[in-house]
Structures are given as structure tokens and as C-alpha cells.
Assembly symmetry: C2
DNA sequence: ACAAGCTATGATAGCGCTGTCATTTCCGCA
DNA sequence: TGCGGAAATGACAGCGCTATCATAGCTTGT
């Protein structure tokens, strides 16, 4: 009997009331001490903490959240972990959360809105304190769930449409536009575009639209396209660059859907002996660190992925309780002139 | 009064009992339906589901977990999100979890064991169904918490030491050893090593040790080192390559702590006009996709990060309830001959 | 025709914690 | 000396769900 007691004590059953009993105080006192809430005398605190440490007591947040009707969970739904930009956003989120005791619960949607809806439902079941999503495209039901939840919602990456609550990101449309202006100013006239699946990556499409507008205003247009099915990758960028030049040898600049693709372009040129910039200029999007390390610095546009995640969290934390009307934070972008365009 | 009721109904208070009341069944019946558990007649199911959909009822998992003393959370503690390998492991974890209704809760330790301990405590408070960690280095307390918890514990990346429960990864020591053998066979004799912070990345050190052993068995040694403070990066790899060659122009092969660094080496050679392989051979570790897309395919060793995450989850799911004695899964590695060494 | 064994449903009692509203103790100051 | 009020603690009633055991109807087989 004695042994059984000890086993039970040590494994499954170290609860608040156990601690309270051994420390000769009420449960609520222990609870207050664990949460640093309410006035507690130093003597009691130490006596209780001694017991806590001895038993290795870890408060059960599930019970706590149920009782207080609030959790310290932040739901995060991102489209993919393969595309480097999302881990970077996650990094920003983690950085913003550091020091708080909020925990992100991360799900991946694979760019599928129905999967996103299912994920949102599943995350909502944990009564998160806030939700962070990528983009502002959601199914009707998902949108409704988000709106009705009343919690803070941050929609990241994109600020081209009105958010439910908070949007943090940049205008991809005007980023594309400014890329176009920049390249026109540098004297390029025969534009090629190398991209990937627009259905998944709607923001790439927005940048393309912006680019076209800039060209059109200058009486120009994209004269050749090479689009790859599926996701962006450096290998795809390499292949599509070869493809583009084969289709239309007159292009003097290739604009890529992102840096992964553009770096593939650089590699193709290096290995095919094509003079970058003189023969073909290359312009990307994102400003990945890698672009900086290339034999020639990649010309691109920096988006601040880390910052987007971090600021989203900060905005949420500013007032966890109430939405304050749609709020848009523009994290901007910055042209990196580089050496490839 | 009527309006107030409706508001309350629609926002905060869509609970099991509410659904049960409107569907004219008991709470437990609704609970069974939501969980697909126990025998339920088709008629009842449909009647209840109609109410569920009408109210937009989402079960509260917090309450559910408390009542059932089990959660569908998987705690994940990784050292970093900056190093591409961990997002890939995460991807594997998500892939393995797909189709189950488990949710990963991810925390980042920044390679700090004390931070890891704090994180483990914090994750444990959610009574996770299992924990996934990187590496087998933990503080004493962390180790104790993990052992005592009784839940499944997977320690990833590394199988060079005995795990608490499950280990999935590869022997970095023998990977390093085999790199050495491979390069010796190819005729290289003057080895340089380019690495990053060993305190953070203990596995890189293991690979180095393995390399040295292979060299030593062949009567060789590493004749020059260039180590960068801090984390690995392509830029650092570039700089350290220049540095290495300046220090000892006789080296004919550089082994890098990982592909990020090695790719930097490739870039340095490309931009300094150094003949890769003829003048300096380059060998990495990880087998990143990017290595394949380079102008010359990177010679390296493939570690299967995605698989490590996926298999860890599968092993855990095999028997969620009980540990079955230490279990080690070797996901192996594979030499990619490539064109740089 | 009736025990045995289904299937479908319900009543009850918590899970481990926190919010709310007391209650007690102790201090400073008139 | 006594009183107002802050500091310290506690009792109690849930939070929203699920485990457990019980109950009612309905087939079966012999």
C-alpha cells in the first residue's frame, strides 16, 4: 500500500491540491503563487515553492485554461514549410513571442483553402488567444469563424485587401510595379518573366500584375514567359531560364517570381557562359541572404519576412483583448540594386 | 432580453449542452457523435449534426483534454529555425501527423540547454501525447522530466548515444568517417576543414571527429582549419574559404561543416576564378536541394531530414501509450559524388 | 418463449484549475 | 486606544467536456 501511494504520488498525480496539502495552504494560494498574482507573503511563497520543487509540480495548463476560459496558445496557419519565407516568418513570430508565455501551435495548409479551413477549426478548438494566418484568402466559413471568434487575427504577407483585424506585410502589387520602374530606368526594354504556379502563390501574381502595369505605362510589355508547373525552386528557375532564352533570344532582362527562381537563373547563366547583365539581366524578389553570397550579388527586392512575423505578434500583444478596427502595417520593401540587373 | 440571449448564443456560448438541448438528446450523445465513438443511430447523428452546423459548434478541446486526461498535442523543441535543416524536419513531422488530429506545438531553444529545459517544462504543462526533441543533450532536470513523464519521447538527428525512448537520425561520427574515406579514395591528401561554432552544433563536431579518424587511419590529417564564430552561413563559407587558402595554399580539398558553408566555398571559387576540383575540391554535408542546382553539382553527403521527422512521428504513433525500451532508427546517409570533389 | 447479447442512449461524477466573493490579520495614524 | 483599510488567505462553484456504469429496447438461438 505504501509503495503504491508513493508511485502514484510521483508519476501521474502531482496536482495543485497535493501541493497545497503538503504546504498547509489552500489550493488558491498555490495557484496565486504559480501565477504571480495577488498578494502573497514571502514566507508562504517560499514554503510553497519548496514543496513545488520537491514534487516537481508542473501546473496543468489545460485545467487552467478551462477554468479561466483563456489559453496562452497562438494559432498559426502557414501555407508551407518548404518555401523558405515561411520559416522566416515563423522565426519572427517566435522572436516576438519570446519572453511571453504564449505558445504557437503551427499548422500547414499546403496552399489549400479547404485545408486551411479545417486547420482553423482545429486550432480554434484550443481557444487560442489569437490567430496568425498567411494571406487574406479564406473560405467563407473560415472567414466567418475568424470574424465571430472575436480574438485577434493577424493576416500576414499581403496588405492589398482589407483585413479582418490586423494585416502585416507589403503591397505586392506595388512591389512589382516598382521593380518594373527600376528596371526600365536602368535601360532594359525586352522583358521576360519566369514564374511558378500562380494559383498557389497569389502574391507572385500580384507582383506580376504590378510589373505589367509599370511596363504598360512605359509603352512596354513582357515579351516572353516561362512558367513552371508547381512550386518555385532553384532547379526550376535554371530550367525555365534556358527555356526562356530558347523561346525568345531577344529578351534582355528576366524578372523572376522570387529569389529561388532567380538564383536558378544565375546558375544557368554561369554554367552556360551567358554574361549576366550584359547579355541577360536577372531580377528576383525576396532578398534572401543567399543572394548576397552569390558570385555576383543578386538584384532583387527585399521583403522583410522576419519583421512581418515579429510585428504581427507585437500588434497582437498591444491589445490582446479587443480588436480596434482594421489595422494595416506596411513593412515595406527595398530594392537591392545588386550586380545582376 | 431576447436580443441579449441571441447574442450570447452566437458568440461565446456554443457548448455541448447547448447542442444537446436543441437536438433533444443528452450531452454524451453529442460528445460521442463528435468523436465518432460508440454506437449511434444514423437518424440521431444527422439530427445532431444539423444542429452542430447551424450553431457552428466547435468542440472545446481544452475541456475535452481535461476530462479525458489526454491531449492531442505533440510538443516539439528544435534549436533553431534559421538553419534550413530544422524546418525540413518540421516538414517531416507535419507530414507524419497529417491525417491524424494531433497538433504540434513548436518551440525554439536557440541551442541553449537551459532554454530547452524551460521550453520542455512549458510544453509539458499541456500534457502532450508525445515530445519530439533535437539531439540527446539535455539538462539534468530536463532529462528527469522527460523520463518521468512516461510519454513517448523522440530525440532526433543523432543516434550516437542511447536515447530515453526513441532516437531517429544518423551517426554523424560515421558520416564524417565515410566522407573522409571517400575523399581519400578519390586521391585527396591535403585536407582543409571549414566549420562553424561547435558548441552550438555538436553534430558538426562529431562529423569532424569521424573525418579525423579516417584521415588518421590513412596516415593523414587535417592540415588547415578555418572556423567561423557563430552560425553557419553561405557568406561565412565564402569568407572562410578565402581565409583557408590564404593560410595554407597547399590544401587540395576543403571539407565543410555543412552545405551552407560549402556552397559559400563554391561561390568563392567561382568568383575568384579558382578551378573547383582541379585546384580545390569542395565537400559538404546535408545534401540540400540547392547543391543540385549549382553550376556544378555539389559533392556532399545526404542526410534525410524530412524522413527523420516523418519516421519519428510514425514510431511514436506505432504505440502512443507505452515505451517499449530504447529504440533507434538509423535513417542513414548517402554520398553524393557530385562535381566539386 | 426467454435468457443472452446486442445496439442505442442517458445519469452522474469528476478532470485540475481559477474567478468571485468572503474572511481574517495586521498595520498606521488620529 | 481604536478604527479604516490594505494585505493575506480561504470557501465555493463552476469551466465544458468525457469515463463509467446503468438502462432500455431489440434481435437472436434453442
Amino acid at each position: 500500500m505504501k509503495e503504491r501511494r508513493r508511485l502514484a504520488d510521483h508519476k501521474s498525480k502531482v496536482t495543485l491540491s497535493e501541493v497545497a496539502r503538503l504546504a498547509n495552504v489552500s489550493e488558491i494560494t498555490v495557484s496565486r503563487i504559480m501565477r504571480n498574482k495577488g498578494p502573497i507573503s514571502e514566507v508562504t511563497r517560499q514554503r510553497v515553492m519548496a514543496v513545488v520543487n520537491k514534487l516537481g509540480y508542473v501546473p496543468n495548463r489545460i485545467a487552467g485554461s478551462l477554468a479561466s476560459a483563456r489559453s496562452n496558445i497562438i494559432g498559426v496557419a502557414i501555407p508551407s514549410l518548404s518555401n523558405i519565407v515561411f520559416p522566416e516568418v515563423l522565426r519572427g513570430i517566435h522572436a516576438g513571442l519570446k519572453g511571453t508565455d504564449f505558445q504557437p501551435v503551427v499548422g500547414v495548409t499546403d496552399y489549400d483553402l479547404d485545408a486551411e479551413e479545417a486547420l482553423i477549426r482545429s486550432l480554434m478548438a484550443w481557444k487560442p488567444a489569437a490567430m496568425i494566418l498567411a494571406g487574406s484568402d479564406h473560405t467563407g466559413s473560415a472567414q466567418q469563424i475568424l470574424v465571430q471568434s472575436g480574438i485577434r487575427i493577424a493576416e500576414l504577407m499581403d496588405i492589398d485587401v482589407e483585413p479582418i483585424d490586423i494585416a502585416v506585410g507589403l503591397s505586392h502589387r506595388s512591389a512589382g510595379y516598382d521593380s518594373g520602374r527600376h528596371l526600365i530606368e536602368r535601360g532594359y526594354r525586352r522583358f521576360g518573366y519566369i514564374g511558378h504556379n500562380w494559383r498557389d502563390d497569389r502574391r507572385a501574381k500580384l507582383r506580376y500584375d504590378g510589373l505589367c502595369q509599370a511596363l504598360s505605362e512605359a509603352g512596354l510589355q513582357v515579351v516572353a514567359h516561362s512558367m513552371v508547373e508547381g512550386a518555385s525552386s532553384t532547379l526550376a528557375g535554371r530550367a525555365m531560364t534556358a527555356n526562356l532564352l530558347a523561346n525568345d533570344p531577344t529578351v534582355d532582362v528576366a524578372v523572376y517570381s522570387n529569389d529561388d527562381m532567380a538564383i536558378g537563373g544565375v546558375f544557368h547563366c554561369l554554367s552556360a557562359g551567358i554574361a549576366i547583365r550584359e547579355r541577360l539581366a536577372i531580377f528576383g524578389f525576396n532578398g534572401l541572404e543567399l543572394g548576397d553570397a552569390l558570385p555576383m550579388v543578386l538584384s532583387t527586392m527585399r521583403s522583410n519576412r522576419f519583421l512581418i512575423g515579429k510585428i504581427a505578434v507585437e500588434k497582437i500583444m498591444e491589445n490582446l483583448a479587443h480588436r480596434s478596427g482594421p489595422c494595416v502595417v506596411d513593412t515595406g520593401y527595398e530594392i537591392i540594386a545588386g550586380e545582376t540587373a
